[in-house]
Every structure is written in structure tokens, then in C-alpha cells.
Amino acid sequence: MKNAENTKGRIMLFASRFVVYTILIFLSVLCLFSFYMMIINASRSNAELQGGFTPWFSTHLWDNLQNAWNDASINIPRGMLNSFLIAAACAVLTTYFSALTAYGVHVYDFKLKKFAFYFIMAVMMIPPQVSAVGFIQLCYQFKLTNNYIPLIVPSIAAPVVFFYMKQYLESVLPMEIVEAARIDGSNEFSTFNRIVLPIMKPAIAVQMIFAFVSSWNNYFIPALLLDKADLKTVPIMIAQLRSADYSKFDMGKVYMFIFLAILPVLVVYIILSKSIIRGATAGAVKG
């Protein structure tokens, strides 16, 4: 009797595992499929692409790369450089100042401490597009269009990153360290820079990646502020590709443009996926 139940349980377990793996494999294929198509199509010439579909690599990857890289109307290397500069600056500023703000609220006692914390928590949910009108107007007023200042400086105030840093400080920073530094005569600012920042390295690294990626992918505001060809970022160029008459395009080149647009993030992700995935949870869920 017991044996029979055991066998039944085993069959059930086997069956449910089979179903679960099937679902997982299906979803993985669904996630990878379009990127696979992108890569194989980026390796095919325009004639091959017009000729019909084959699900395997061809030999024109290098030609397409050269054509895309040297395209006259869409200067993708310039776009990638622009995007990189903006994203790197955002990543540095957003992590440093979020850590600084979180440290300020975490360590010191001051009258407006509670207010500061709850204010940041309250504005965390407000979508950035809601203030876009005033923001764009401000940029036109102060001649900041076709300028990277409005794309970089606002990243100093990032409520979500602040919240992550605050949580991290709560879990890793003992007040004794701060007090010991004070007794040793370290001033508050250098205590933060020399002692607290190194402790926060893991949090800073993860948030740097996220900040870089979201700035690299950002389309809405840059598209409204940048219209000089030399200053355009990658997402604007991709959208430009869409608005061009695609039927006249070398499609192999188009796939290559898309590939280049996502390549840097893809490479970073493949190298650092473990810590990125861990970072994705740590910020959002209170322990």
C-alpha cells in the first residue's frame, strides 16, 4: 500500500518536473528567439534577406558591420560614443550622490531628517514624464537644448537609487566605524569618501550598472532635446531608422544597427549577470 503510494508520488513528481521544464524551455526560447534572428540576419546580405528566410548564419557579418559603421546618414560610432559618455557620467553621479544623500539621512540627526526621507519616498513613484513639459521649457529658456547637461545633471537626484543605498547602509554600516573615524580626527566628508564609500562598493557597482543601462536606453527626453546630428544618442538613431523608408534600406545593415545598439549592454550582462540579477532583488524588497 505504502509502496504504491510512493510510486504514485514519484510519477506525479516526474510529470510535474516535465511540465515545469517544458514551460521554462519554451519561455527561454521565446526570450532568445528574436535576438537569434537579429544575429543571423545581421550576418546575411541584403540579397539573401530579400531572397527568403533561412535559419542559419551566413558570411556577411563583417560586410554589414563595415557598412553600418561607415553609414553616411546614421553615424552609429558617434552615437555610441555620445551614449557612452552620457551613461558613464550618469552612472558616476547617480551612485555617488545617492550614497552621499543616503549617508546624510542615515547617520546624522537633524530636524528635517524625517521630512527628507519621507519626501524622497513619496516622490519615488511619480513618473518622470509628468514633469517633462516644464523640463523641456526650462531647457529651451536656458538654452540647454543640444546640450548634455539636462541629460546628466538630473541624475544626481535619483530617489530609487537613494532608497537602495539607504537600505544597504542600514544593513552594513555600524555607527562604531563612523565614531572611530571621528576620534581619529577624520572630518565628516573624508570619513564618507575614504571609509564609507569603500564599504558601499558592492551596492555602488550594482547601481552603476543599472544607471548606465537605463541612461543608455533612454529615449523620451533625449529625443525632445537633441536634434543636432553630432549629438544624437543611439536610441534616437534607432528611431530615425524606423522613420526612414525601410524598403530602400540594406536590411543586413539595419539588423547590424540594432545589434550594435544593444551590444554593449549585452556584453556587460553576459559578464556580470550574476551580480546584476542579485542586485535587481536587493533594492526592491525590504528584507
Binding site: S28, P128, Q129, V133, V234, A280
Partner: protein, 307 residues
């Protein structure tokens, strides 16, 4: 002489949080207020002529909710589109993520290769939305590989214009949103399940609860706060839907503006016409909707959990 006790460090607190608040006030709070202010003015460009700014009271809002020649109320139509596109993507996103989170954390199932699966399903979340959308456009265009396969296999005789059919455009947008977000949600919910005290599951097992019973009676109620968080952030994210439909439909929301979202509407007024008045009015509506949505959902879903 330095005093170590009784020194007030309060001023450092202010100094450290100062840059954040200065930047926030300058680049977000002030623009937010001027956005609202703009909503009450007529202020746009018509050709080379600048009209306004003239104070017009609530005229912009009235205009927003007045039917056009064909009887459509733009605001309601685009809000409806946004909701439909969100629901089509977010419902499977949350359901599948919940399922996967349970699978991954199940001790009994003991899924192998978790790291690989998690890496794969999280990846689309980091991909540039506009590039992802452009990729789908090329794949599903009338001369794209999807149509080539359909044609050569004889499933259709004429290329299907996926971007000209309401349901297929909506499904494509929702599919992309689903793919971009279900991995992220899975990982959030997994952390939530792992945060639940293991004793709860052991107790349920000893009491002879089936997997389904454990899920509905133990996992789901204890996961409620994180589920609330997920739903709220997904909603607010959905309200901001822009990059994917904008690039897929080239900013037109084809066919017949049935995939035109709220932020595309806002973006449209910020373009060449620089209609800050109407854009301001849309922003006010967006603000009210996002603020009240998060409040309502939070109250509604957190009630049963509190008792």
C-alpha cells in the same frame, strides 16, 4: 581644541543631502509646478507664429475631453489604448512570474539550471526598448522573415501587414512588454517567497496540504505585500508606455491610432507644435491617474493582508 562629546553633527546632514535636493528642486519639482501652471494657458506654435501664452482657465481640459469630428474623445481613447496594452502584457507577466517564482523556490521540484533560466528570462529587461521594438518591426514587416516563412509555407497567399491590423499591433506591443518584464517580476517574487518563513511551508506539509492548497493558503497571502508592490510599479510603468509603441508604429499608433498611448499623446504635443498648454493638461491628468491608481490599489490589496 576638539570636543568629542556634545558636538552637533546636524549641519553635516544638511550639507550631505543638499546636492540631491537642489538638483531635485531645480530639475524636477520646479518643472513639475510649471507643467501644471502651463495647463491653464494657451501656448503653442502655429507655423512660425507663436500663440500665447494667454490664460485660458480650464479650456485645455475641456478641449481634452471634447469629441473630435469623428466623435472620438482623444484623451479617453488613448487612455483606453494604454490600459488595453497594459492589461494584455501585465496579466500574463504577473501570472507567469508567480508560477516561475513558485517553481524556482520549490524544494520538492528542485529545478536544475536555475541560473541559466534566470539569466535568460531577465535579459530582455536590460535591452534598449526602442531597439527591441525596431527589431520586432523588421521581423514582422511585410517583407520580413515572419512573412517570408508564412508565404513560402503556403499558410498565406499575400503578406500579412501585421502593423496595419489592430489586434496584431496590440499583441506585438504586449508581447514585447511581457518579454521585457516577466523575468524581472519573477526575480522580485522569488525573493519575496524566499523571505517567507520556511516553517510555514513545513507546517503546511505536515498538515497534509497539497501544492495548490499551500500556494493559495500560505504563499499567496504572505506574498501579498510584494505582489501589491509589483502590481503598482507595473501599473505606473504601464502608464509610461512609450518607446515600444512609438518605434513600432513610427509614432503614429497605427492603425487609426488604436495603439497610441498617453505618453505618445503627450510627446506629440511637445514636438514641432510645442503646445505646452495641451501637453500640460495631459500631464495633470497623468499625474492624477498615477497618484490615485497607486493609492487605490495599495489600499484595496493590502486590506485583507492586514487582518
Amino acid at each position: 581644541m576638539r570636543k568629542h562629546k556634545g558636538v552637533s553633527y546636524a549641519k553635516w546632514g544638511y550639507i550631505f543631502i543638499l546636492p540631491f535636493f537642489v538638483v531635485y528642486i531645480l530639475f524636477t519639482l520646479v518643472p513639475q509646478l510649471t507643467t501644471f501652471y502651463n495647463a491653464f494657458f494657451e501656448n503653442y506654435r502655429s507655423g512660425l507664429k507663436q500663440i500665447g501664452p494667454n490664460f485660458v482657465g480650464l479650456d485645455n481640459f475641456v478641449k481634452l475631453f471634447t469629441p473630435d469630428k469623428s466623435g472620438n474623445i482623444g484623451m479617453l481613447k488613448y487612455f483606453g489604448n494604454t490600459v488595453i496594452l497594459w492589461v494584455l502584457g501585465a496579466v500574463p507577466q504577473i501570472v507567469i512570474a508567480l508560477l516561475l517564482a513558485v517553481f524556482f523556490t520549490s524544494y520538492r521540484l528542485n529545478i536544475k539550471g536555475q541560473r541559466f533560466f534566470k539569466t535568460v528570462i531577465y535579459m530582455p529587461n536590460l535591452i534598449m526598448a526602442s531597439a527591441f521594438s525596431m527589431l520586432f518591426f523588421t521581423l514582422f514587416s511585410p517583407v520580413g522573415p515572419v512573412n517570408q516563412v508564412l508565404l513560402s509555407s503556403g499558410l498565406t497567399e499575400k503578406a500579412i501587414d501585421f502593423l496595419g491590423i489592430r489586434i496584431s499591433v496590440r499583441l506585438l506591443i504586449s508581447l514585447m512588454n511581457f518579454l521585457m518584464w516577466f523575468g524581472n517580476t519573477t526575480i522580485l517574487l522569488m525573493a519575496g517567497i524566499q523571505g517567507i518563513d520556511q516553517c510555514m511551508f513545513e507546517a503546511a506539509e505536515i498538515d497534509g496540504a497539497s501544492s495548490l492548497q499551500t500556494f493559495f493558503r500560505v504563499t499567496l497571502p504572505l506574498l501579498a505585500p510584494i505582489l501589491v508592490y509589483t502590481v503598482i510599479t507595473a501599473m505606473i510603468g504601464g502608464l509610461q508606455m512609450f518607446d515600444v509603441p512609438q518605434v513600432l508604429t513610427n509614432g503614429k499608433g497605427t492603425p487609426d491610432r488604436t495603439s497610441f498611448t498617453m505618453v505618445m499623446y503627450l510627446n506629440n504635443y511637445l514636438g514641432t507644435s510645442k503646445n505646452y498648454g495641451m501637453a500640460g493638461a495631459i500631464s495633470v491628468v497623468l499625474f492624477i491617474v498615477s497618484a490615485s491608481l497607486s493609492l487605490v490599489v495599495y489600499r484595496m490589496l493590502s486590506k485583507p493582508y492586514k487582518n
